[in-house]
Symmetry: C2
Subunit: 86 residues, 2 copies
Amino acid sequence: MNTLFKALNDPTRREILEFLKEKDLTAGEIADRFQISKPSISHHLDLLKQAGLVSAVKEGQFICYSLNTTVLDELLKWLMNFKNEK
Amino acid sequence: MNTLFKALNDPTRREILEFLKEKDLTAGEIADRFQISKPSISHHLDLLKQAGLVSAVKEGQFICYSLNTTVLDELLKWLMNFKNEK
DNA sequence: TTGATATTTAGACAAATGTCTAAATGTTTT
DNA sequence: AAAACATTTAGACATTTGTCTAAATATCAA
């Protein structure tokens, strides 16, 4: 839960998720969409991966990232916990 | 959205929300539940207030905090945006 | 009005975070 | 084999964050 909130607590990372919602992308394609250096994007992708929000598959010299929404169910459950009773 | 995620990105603050889910509490009552100094708790409460997650009402020399779940609807909507299509 | 209580504000400080450049690793292509 | 490309790792640096103590503000009680 901690790593999930941490991963989501950054505009760049949330925007990466938005892009990946449209379609899978390689690290380079993702980096091209931002005015941030590739190593920085790589770091963001690492945090997203740690949180289970994205998965990475190596395809030749590229690494293809895709969105993983199952982790968000946990967050959804956490949210509902507040909206329910009272 | 930014302030909301920022506010939620801390275990202490999330625990404060859990306590406030049970019932409204004064700043002191909240601080008593943690092994953190009162000024630090006060600061956490300020961030939660900035995010609209809690509201504060002065009652004499006390300040009573209560949970405000309406802001979480925004987060819920953001979440659903990912779970929907695709 | 003086003292006690409740809370916040101010300022300091270490740790975490986001960013960068330079270098390393791994894969293709010629 | 060597050069080009894709990505990450390493290390540095400034900013943000969470915490603390000391002091300020405000309210209640004697």
